[in-house]
């Protein structure tokens, strides 16, 4: 080996002194020279080799530096006194600086003041032992931003007894905000959990001799957990803290055992019977047979969900009810598109029509089911409906499957799209068959009633007429005959009887005269014979004369057509209204002048009775019993005859009664 040889030579030569050299023979000197030359060559060769090695070393070094700087983790070497000796780009980047700026700066100046204690504590630990220290603290970037860093520190003790600290820096800010972070940091995270609202528990599983999980032990919990459960478990086991945990509907121990054993994460929502609350739970394995569980109280949310569910249930029940009501309502419902095609129709309507749903919906138009007589009405109404959005009480006739027709009443409203275009119309359908029938019956009944009323009036008139003529044609002449007979008897009497007897006779004749007068008045009130003989105008005229004579009230009667005759009922009605009006005037109005006008030259006939009396408040008519009754009977009588009755009166302004008869 040339190196060894050279060494040996050098060693030997080194011990070779000049005197010794001088003692060497020339041969020996030649040999030594040769040897030296060989060495020289060898040296040169070695030198070249070294140069190559140096280059390789330089390359390796720069490669190392590159790796050091580009590493995904931050590296930093700190002197015993805390000055930065070396720092890679990643680490300086974390702090927002260049490595050159940080060399010989104090490492601790980048640590948040509050966390200095942590760093100091671990640094002391590093100095005392060879164990690496891993801890998390907050550092400040150049721009002032604070971020979480995990430090893994190791101490290098040099031969000289000096110590250097090497740190690996890892940014954990992001991790701290993720579930993943929890997995990674495990129970360490618990230490930092003072301010978090969810409960955290670090626990260890307990197994029996067969390896079956039977319980777990609390190692640490955060304040939120204590607050949440209302209990500090300390280092107790689950069964000590929650004595009935095995009886709970959910196998909590089993679930956690699974996590602790397999390392699989589980996430579930459960009801915790201990405090009757709901929790959203995430459980992770922190290390083998250990787990961390995170509790979030979701009782409120669950209550909301429960309520929402109940609402949903209720809504769906309502929807069912509405559907049932829709289908079986006592009226028909349908929707049609703009052409009249059915979009929906309820069962009731189908039942009325005698069709199946599939024979109607999307197949048939409403127009197809309308009778010819009412189709045009519908078309007109449908246009209005599309335009104005609503149509009420359209009467049409629908044709059943069997061809029979029935009357219906339709009320519709339109549904428009956002742009105001007609989408469809929804309609309600009423079967009018019964109503029509009832209406017809009602009309029939009303007709019958009117006829009965007319008949009643007629027969009443007939009765009055009969009674009147009976009194007039028989009683009056009888009385006249009695009076004549009395006269005859008186003329036959002897003179000596007469004085006292004559007075008696005059009393009797006075009675007869009074009776005759009252009979005449009764006859006139019931039905004046003149009404039949000479008609309405003559009867009123005569009655007016008698009334004037009897009461002294001024009455004028104007009539355009004296000789016109009407049906006995109508003549009687108008005469009676005059009579009633005059009687009212006498009894209540305190009138001094009355004007009666009968406009009978053209139809309708108008009878107006006007007085200058005290009048009355027409609204308080009910207060005046008699007058009210008289007016009421006038109105009733007029309406029975198919006429109209008008009354105008005001306090102090007289009264006007107007009757119009066709």
């Amino acid at each position: 080996m040339p190196q060894k040889q050279a060494k040996v030579l050098l060693g030997e030569s080194a011990s070779l002194t000049v005197s010794q050299l001088n003692r060497l023979s020339s041969e020996e000197k030649q040999l030594l020279l040769d040897e030296l030359q060989t060495h020289h060559v060898q040296m040169n060769m070695q030198n070249e080799e070294l140069c190559l090695l140096q280059t390789a070393l330089d390359a390796a070094h720069s490669r190392y530096l590159e790796l050091y700087n580009q590493a995904p983790l931050g590296y930093c070497t700190v002197s015993r006194h805390g000055l930065i000796l070396q720092i890679n780009i990643n680490a300086s980047n974390l702090l927002g600086m260049m490595p050159s700026e940080m060399i010989n700066e104090r490492f601790s100046q980048y640590i948040l003041k509050e966390d200095m204690g942590i760093h100091h504590h671990h640094s002391e630990q590093l100095k005392l032992s060879n164990d690496s220290q891993s801890y998390e603290l907050r550092m400040t970037k150049k721009d002032g931003t604070i971020f979480w860093v995990q430090l893994l520190g190791t101490a290098e003790h040099s031969a000289k007894g000096s110590t250097e600290f090497r740190y690996i820096l890892k940014d954990t800010s992001k991790r701290r905000h993720t579930d993943k972070a929890l997995v990674d940091s495990g129970y360490k995270f618990l230490l930092l959990s003072e301010n978090i609202t969810f409960g955290l528990a670090d626990c260890k599983m307990i197994y029996d001799e067969l390896g079956e999980p039977i319980d777990y032990q609390f190692l640490d919990v955060n304040p939120a957990y204590i607050k949440m459960m209302g209990i500090n478990p300390g280092y107790k086991t689950a069964t000590q803290v929650f004595p009935d945990i095995r009886e709970y509907s959910f196998d909590w121990i089993g679930a956690f055992a699974y996590v602790a054993k397999t390392g699989n994460q589980i996430h579930f929502e459960r009801f915790f019977q201990f405090n009757n609350r709901w929790y959203d739970c995430i459980a992770y394995q922190s290390k083998i047979d250990h787990f961390v569980v995170m509790f979030m109280d979701i009782t409120e949310r669950k209550a909301h969900e429960e309520k929402q569910w109940q609402y949903t249930e209720q809504i769906s029940r309502y929807a069912d009810e509405i559907k049932e009501i829709y289908e079986y309502a006592p009226c028909g419902y349908y929707s049609i598109d703009k052409n009249g095609y059915f979009l929906h129709i309820n069962k009731m309507a189908l039942q009325w029509l005698g069709y199946r749903k599939d024979e109607i919906v999307n197949v048939c138009r409403l127009q197809d089911l309308l009778s010819g007589a009412t189709l045009e009405d519908f078309e007109k109404s449908f246009l209005q409906l599309q335009k104005y959005g609503q149509e009420r009480d359209l009467e049409v006739e629908l044709i059943r499957r069997d061809g029979t027709v029935f009357p219906v009443l339709i009320s519709s409203s339109t549904v428009y799209d956002q742009d105001g275009n007609y989408l469809m119309s929804r309609s309600t359908l009423y079967d009018m068959t019964e109503r029509k029938k009832m209406e017809e019956e009602r009309i029939q009944y009303a007709k019958q009633q009117e006829m009965a009323a007319r008949h009643l009036v007629a027969s009443q008139e007939h009765l009055r007429q009969q009674l009147s003529s009976e009194l007039h044609d028989r009683t009056s002449p009888n009385l006249a005959a009695i009076a004549i007979n009395l006269k005859v008897i008186v003329s036959e009497l002897q003179p000596e009887h007469t004085t006292d007897f004559f007075d008696r006779m005059e009393d009797t004749l006075a009675l007869i005269a009074d009776t005759t007068t009252s009979i005449r008045e009764i006859c006139t009130d019931m039905r004046p014979p003149l009404l039949d003989y000479a008609g309405l105008a003559a009867a009123i005229e005569t009655y007016v004369q008698q009334f004037k004579h009897r009461t002294g009230i001024e009455v004028q009667f104007h009539c355009l057509n004296q000789s016109e005759r009407y049906t006995p009922e109508l003549e009687s009605l108008l005469f009676r209204i005059c009579q009633e009006a005059l009687t009212n005037c006498l009894k209540h109005a305190a009138a001094t002048s009355i004007v009666i006008t009968l406009n009978n030259d053209t139809r309708p006939i108008t009878l107006i009775i006007m007085d200058n009396g005290i009048g009355f408040d027409a609204e308080q008519l009910g207060m005046h019993g008699c007058a009210g009754l008289g007016l009421l009977s006038m109105r009733e009588m007029t309406e029975i005859m198919g006429g109209s009755f008008f009354l105008e009166s005001a306090l102090g302004k007289g009264t006007q009664i107007k009757v119009v008869v066709l």
Binding site: S476, N478, V488, A510, P529
Partner: protein, 212 residues
């Protein structure tokens, strides 16, 4: 002097009888016939040579106005006296237009029939007070209210009223029923064209009525 021959036309038998007895008590008057059916009137007048026909108006069958028109048409010399229950203007007008010479109401027949007969015999027209009052009233509105039409009994009652007696006292004084006094009062009001008790009192005071 030749008897006046009278024919009675009225469908009321009892009234005809009363008239007959009234007329037969009178000298120079002879009732030559009577009938209840106006249709046979022309024949009957011709057969009986009646001078005067007492004609009712309201009869079943043909009425008195129609019968009068027919009769006067057939026998213009015969006189018709209308004897009716009606006093209304229209009947009077129609009857007179049909050719009747006199019109009296049945209730006044006892007093008025003989006057009417006398009048028509002298070719005058005659209307009884009931009818003439009504006609005059229609023209003059308010006709006089004198006491001439009152009977002596009525004047008696009026005098007692004027003295301030109540109906009860009057009834007692005249020895008649209270209701009869009321009847007299009503008749007085009617005859004097008065309408109520206060009008009567005023009338009594202004006319100085004295007790009879």
């Amino acid at each position: 002097m030749q008897n006046i021959r009278i024919l009675l036309v009225d469908d009321h038998q009892m009234f005809r009888n009363a008239l007959r007895s009234l007329l037969e008590n009178t000298v120079n008057i002879e009732v030559v016939g009577e009938t209840g059916d106006a249709c046979e009137i022309v024949d009957l007048v011709r057969k009986t040579s009646a001078d005067i026909v007492c004609m009712d108006i309201g009869m079943s069958g043909m009425n008195g106005i129609e019968a009068t028109r027919k009769l006067i048409g057939a026998c213009p010399t015969v006189k018709v006296i209308a004897l009716s229950s009606y006093s209304e203007h229209k009947y009077v007008q129609d009857m007179m237009a049909a050719g009747a010479s006199a019109y009296i109401t049945k209730v006044e027949a006892a007093d008025e029939l003989l006057r009417a007969i006398t009048a028509v015999r002298q070719n005058r027209k005659y209307l009884c007070p009931d009818v003439s009052d009504a006609l005059i009233g229609a023209i003059t509105q308010r006709h006089q209210n004198d006491t001439s039409s009152l009977t002596s009994r009525e004047r008696q009652v009026l005098g007692l009223v004027a003295d301030g007696n109540t109906s009860l006292v009057i009834a007692d004084r005249l020895n008649i029923a209270l209701s009869t006094v009321e009847v007299h009062r009503r008749n007085i009001l009617r005859k004097l064209n008065l309408h109520n008790a206060s009008e009567l009192t005023r009338y009594v005071m202004s006319n100085d009525i004295l007790t009879c």
